[in-house]
Amino acid sequence: MNIEAFIDRLFEYAEARGLKEYQVSYAKNENSDIQVFNQEIFKQSDNTLMVLSFAVRVNGKIGRFTTERFDIEDVKRVVDEAVANAEIMECDEEFFFYDGAGNYPMVVKHRPQVERLEKFDKIAFLKRLEKETYVADKRVNKVISTQYYSSLSQAIMRNSLGLNLKDETIRAGAYVYASAQNGSEVKTYGDGVCFDKEEDFNSKRLAEKVVKKLVSRLGAENTFSRKAPVVFENKVFASILGSIYGMFSSYAVDTGKSKLAGKIGELIASPKVSIIDNPWLENGFATSAFDSEGVPTRYKELVKDGVLQGFLYGLSMAHKHHTQSTGNGTGGLGSRVFNFYLKNGTCPREELLRKLGDGVYIDKLNGLSGSISLVSGNFSMGAEGYRVTDGKLGAYLNQFTISGNIYDVLKDIEEIGDDLDFDCSPLGSPSVLVKNITVANN
C-alpha cells in the first residue's frame, strides 16, 4: 500500500489507542551497481527498498518496531509491539522525542555530479578502467574487480509533537581492486572515486593512482620487532578516528567504557591535536541539518589544542546530565558523529618523514574493526606500509603488527601533516607522526 497512507493509519491507530507520543522514520533507497570483469559485464543490479521505523513513548521509555512490510493488517501489530517494547524497558534513563523547535542550519551536502552521470557511459568507464589498470604496469596480474554504484535515499521523520523533517542523500562512485605479482609474491590494492570532481571522470587517473600504490608494495621486506616512530597516512588515521569516536560518547563515559570520564578541561592529547565533529561541513559525506532524533546539529571541537572540551549527547543522556543535546542523538543511549576529523596541521609530507627519521610509514591497517578497546585503550592490529630510513621512504614491509594504547597515541602525536583528506567518507585526517608504537613481524 501507499506509504503515506500506511503512516496515516499508524498514527490513527496510535491515537485511537490513547497514545500521546509517537514517531515515524521512513527511508526509501534506490540503488544500483555494475561490475565489469575481463572486459565483460559480470554483474548488474537495480534495487528499491523502503524501511519504516515506528517508535512510541510510554512512561518515559521508547519502544520500536521496524518494518519493510506495509500491509494494512500490520498496523495494529507494529504499534502494539512497539508499545510492549517500551513497557518492558527498565533502565533509569528517560527517553524523548523532539518537537522540531529550534533553528535548522542550511547545509550543503556532498552531491555527485548527477546531471553529468545521467549521460555518462558507466560500462565504458569500467571497461577502460580495467584495461588501463592492466596497462599501467606489466606487474599487474589481475584486476580483481571494477565497480560502479549509485544510490538515492529519501528520508522523512514525523512525530506527534510536530516534528516533520525531510532529507535526501545521493551517492555515486567507482572502485577498482587489483593484484600485482613478482615471483611468488602477490600484493593487492584498491581505491575509488565519488564523482564530485572533474578528475573523477578520468578512469586513467584512477587506474594509475591505484597501480602506483600497488606495484610499490612489491619487493616487500620483513621488518623487525621494536618500538618505533610511525607515520599514519591520512586515510589510515581517519579510519582510526572512525573506531574511537565512541570514547567521546556520554553513554560510554557514564558506563565506564571510556577512559575520558572526568577529564573535561584536561590535556588528553598532544597540544597539536584538535578533533572536530562538523555536521555543517560543505560537501561533507555526513553533512546534515539534524541528527537521528531530529535535533538541529551543531559544530563542535571535542578536543581543542589537546584539551578535552566535552562529550556527545542525544536527548536521553542530555536529560540525565541536565544538559542540552549536542545534536548527536541516535534515538537510543549512544551517540553518533557526522563529519569527524582531525584538524589539519601545517607540516608538509617531506618534513613529516624527515622528522620521523627511521621508522615506519603505515598506509594500510588490517583487522581494525574491533581491535581498539576503548575500555582499556589497548590495541593490536595488522598493518602494512613502508620502511623509512633517514626520512626517506624505502621498501614496502610485509604485514606486521602494531600495538599500543590509543589514549597514549593521542598524547604521543608529535607532528601533524598538512594533507587533511576525507577520501569519499565522513572521516578525515591529515597524516600524523606518532612516537613509540610497537612494531612486530620478525
Binding site: Q44, M89, C91, I144, G367, G382, Q399
Partner: protein, 461 residues
Amino acid sequence: MLNKHLAERVLLKALSTGGDFAELYAENSRMTYLSMGDNKIDGASSNLRCGVGIRVFKDVFYSYAYTNDLSEAGLLKTAEKAAAAVSGNELIKNINLTGYPFENNHKTLINPESVKAGEKVEILRRASAAAYRESSKIRRVDAGLSDKIQNVLIANSDGLWVEDTRIRTHFNVSAMAEDGEEKFSLGKGLGGLQGFEFFQTVNAEETARFCAKSAVEMLTAENCPAGRMPVVVAREIGGILFHEACGHSLEATLLAKNASVFNGKLGQQIASPLVTLVDDGTLPNLWGSSNVDDEGNKTRRNVLIEKGVLKGYLIDRFNARKMGMDATGSSRRESYKIAPTSRMNNTYLLAGNSKPEEIIANTERGVYVTMFGNGSVNPTSDDFNFQVKQAYLIEDGKLTKPVKGAKLIGKGADILPKIDMVGDDLGIHGGGHCGSVSGYVPVCHGQPTLRVAEMIVGGQK
C-alpha cells in the same frame, strides 16, 4: 509468501530478454532483540524484514534486482529490471515449479514467538546477576538476547520450489572488570539454529560467569611478548584460525576469478598431514546450519582438506559455471538484499591423537590462546590477522600467566604446514557472524586443541 503461479510469471518475465536461468528468493523474517545493561532492560526492538531478490544468469553474467514492494506489479517490475541487463532471444518459455521433498533436520521445540518477554528478561537478569556476583571488581555487565524466524522461498527456472523456516536464537554477554586504573572488558556470543530451547543446552549464567572471571583475571595480565613463537590454540574457538587462514580462500568468489592463493592447488599437499578440514551445513541445530542453502540446494558435508591435501572448494551456482565444477550446497546470503555466493557454514578441523595437556607440556615457550576477537584475511595475498582476547604464556611446558594485547598475523600457506600437534578434544563453537560479499551470515567454527610450531605474535613487549 507467493503463490506458484505468480512466481512462475515473475521468473518468465525475468527471462524474457534471453536469460538462461532465473531465480527468485523471497524472505519474510521476524526479529526481536532485548538488551540489558546494569541489570536493567535498556533496549527492546522488533523488526520485520520482507522482500524478494531476483537473479538472472546469461552465460557467465548475472543481474540482480530486489524490492520490498511485493505487489504483483512490484514483483513484475523488479523482474523487468533484472531482465533489462540481459539481451538476446527468449530461451525459456515454460516453467513448472514442483519442488522437492526434504526432511527438516533442525527441529525447533519452542517457537520464540510463543515465549513471553518476561521469560527472556529472566534469562538476561540471571546471567547479568551471575556475572556481578563473580567478583566485586565487575563494574558493568551488558547482555543481549535476540531471536529470528526466517521464512524463505526459493524458486528457479529449473522448476525448483523450496520453502524453509530457520529459527535462530542468540545470546551475548560482556563483563567489564575494573581495579584502580586497570580495566578489561570481555564478552562472548552464542547462537543456535534453535528456538527458546536453546537455553536448555546453553547455560547463560555460566557463560556470564566465565566472562566475568576472565575479565577479572585479565586485569593482572601482562603485555604479550612480540615475535615468532609456537602458538597453542584452545579447542572450539581456534576454529576461526582456519576460517580466516584458509576458509575464505576456498570460497568460489575469488577462485572463479583465479585470484585466490588456492587456485590450481586441488590434490596438492597444502597443510600438515594432521589437518583434515570440513565444512558442514547439516549438523543438527548448529548456528551455521540450514536444511537448504540460499539457492535451494540441500546443505552437505564438504571435505576441504584431507590429511593436508586440498580436496575441495565451496562453490555456488553462478561460480560453478565459471569454474566448470559443481555447486556444493553452501551458497548463502544475509538477506534478499544481497545476491548469494559460496560461503562457509560450520567449518572445523577433525580431532587428532594428542592429549591437550601434552601439547602444552611439549611447548617450551609460547602462547596459549583461549579466546579470539575479530579476524580477517586477504584471500589474494593470503595475509590474515586475528585479535587475541585472552591468552596465557607457556613457559617450560606450563601455563604461567595471562597476557593481553596480542595479535596473530601470517599467511595461510605458511602456517597450515606448521601445525605439528592436534588434540583429541574437538569442540565446535557458534554465535558469530562472518562478513563477506554476500553480507553477514551465521557461522560456527571448531577444532581440537592444536599447536602451530611458529607464528608471528604481535604484542607490546
